[in-house]
Symmetry: C2
Amino acid sequence: MPSSRVTQADVARHAGVSRTTVSFVLSGREDIRISVEARQRILGAAEELGYRPNLTAQSLRTRKTFTIGLVSDVVASGNYAGGLIQGALEAALERDHLLYVAETGDVPEVEQRLLRGMIDRQVDGMIHASMSTRGRRPAHHSPEHPTVLLNHLDQSGELACVVPDEEKAGAEALGMLLEAGHREGVHVVGGHHRTEAAPDGVHAGRERMRGIARAAAAAGVRLAGVAECDWSTPEGGYRAVRTLLGGTAAPKALVCCNDRLAFGAYQALAESGLRVPEDVSVISFDDSELASWLRPGLTSVAIPHRELGRAAVSLLLSDDLTPTIHRIPMPVHRRGSIAPPR
Amino acid sequence: MPSSRVTQADVARHAGVSRTTVSFVLSGREDIRISVEARQRILGAAEELGYRPNLTAQSLRTRKTFTIGLVSDVVASGNYAGGLIQGALEAALERDHLLYVAETGDVPEVEQRLLRGMIDRQVDGMIHASMSTRGRRPAHHSPEHPTVLLNHLDQSGELACVVPDEEKAGAEALGMLLEAGHREGVHVVGGHHRTEAAPDGVHAGRERMRGIARAAAAAGVRLAGVAECDWSTPEGGYRAVRTLLGGTAAPKALVCCNDRLAFGAYQALAESGLRVPEDVSVISFDDSELASWLRPGLTSVAIPHRELGRAAVSLLLSDDLTPTIHRIPMPVHRRGSIAPPR
DNA sequence: GTGAAAGCGCTAACAT
DNA sequence: ATGTTAGCGCTTTCAC
């Protein structure tokens, strides 16, 4: 079965020139001079025949595929996915690249197969996205495969990374509360996100806490408390706040480490008849859809998914892969959950 | 710069045989007999040298790339994304395929570019995912590019489609309520999801409503009402239920068309001091994370994202692309939001 | 059983 | 300024 597609040879025949000439014209090379007339004929023929280059053949020759691989552990499934992929795709498209997307599910064998598959297909570069800070370094990293780490840091110090600027975000979150006048009864819900799997907590947790602490110190404010709990569901926030409300001093403001925890906090506050923001101000992180759904709307520091994705691709394609940490700002989205203390 | 990768030629040299023989052995062809001894030498050499096939070269020759394209309009950004991609990826991986993922944002020019890019890279097939039921047919559909529609139907009747079995889900949702003993005061919140853009409503809406109506009729039950509203945020559910509560007859059970609406309903009920499920039972669709976060947990009919993704890929790779509609069952996830009427 | 040779569609050094 | 030719790494027909 012959390929029904039009090739350069067809165009050449049609235009009465050699394949080389067609190649030069079509690839738009300026270093070789082609007569205007021939160029016109070639372009005309290509257009008329509906010529499209066979990228596979081109890649075989040039070793460039105009594809990049985005492989994540489990990120791409969660809500994290959409924005990251979207941003990456946008940036890729702007530079005429296509995106392979894959997910390892944190299974080494799967990761192995996926990386192999991408390398065998000669991707121009790879982006490794991960939640866990303590990731092993990408199995197949080698100089010929430009690599960017997305959303986690490189412990080997050899790779460029793109991460949200968590610490600054932490500082800004507390700043919002300070700005509204809160100096007492400010509690953190969530903390470092310490779990059995990650006794030191999670990167985002540590950084956010650091930022919060720094901002508090700078303002001469003492946090009323930090409730460490699991961030994954509202349950942790719910329980933490219930405990808080059972205590002696009523909380005045909460920094919740993500929107889920904030949701749990809302639930607990509502049960106790406390109102947001009149009785308790709340600020949070993630700026997920949840934040806009809550009543009142939850002020939240956004994870800049799109920008992260974009930045990773831009960086990868920039060919400046010096092992630098690129911190993407996290914009805060103001809604109705913060008010001055009474 | 010579490619540093090991090629079949290297293996051949190392094993003292011709490139042809290597190709035969490595591609595992059974129709040509190769001496056991030569085979061993080749396999050994390949292993030793760390040979990996160059898929680009292979593709150029065979016209098969072992890649498939998943292009969606806007689906892939929403929460819809994760599961779909995951499922598709799983199925693809099982058959050694890689997945291009792209999103058109419903912009024709972008769609054009993406499809071109995929076709120029010789994808083995494409999956078109879409929210809108009234999608134009994929621009570049042609017999040489196997195509499957995901999550929407084909109005031309020429393409295979994979969709959730919305109607059955609608019937089952109402069935849950009937089973608990509800026969009166059963309201639907959300309806067909009619908007300016889609005056007839959305596919999912129409189908779910049909299923609900069918189940009601079969049980000889009359719905107390259907509140048409926008499904996209909890706001619609909140308002619809507030209106309901302002009426004469108190609602006893709600079928919410998605979890967001159900969330809004919960908010409205809570404000009126009504409790779920003691005063009002609620069932919903989507089974998003939200469903498990609500208090009490929301019984919800899941959208089988993973299975949809898997099915689309399996179908595409099965080469049985008869234009059939494949309906994937929607499992209901029971939680605490349903109780018998008082 | 094994190998020589052609060719997939394209690029690029080297002639002319 | 244009054409000739030799590959990129692989598969596959056809001789040996």
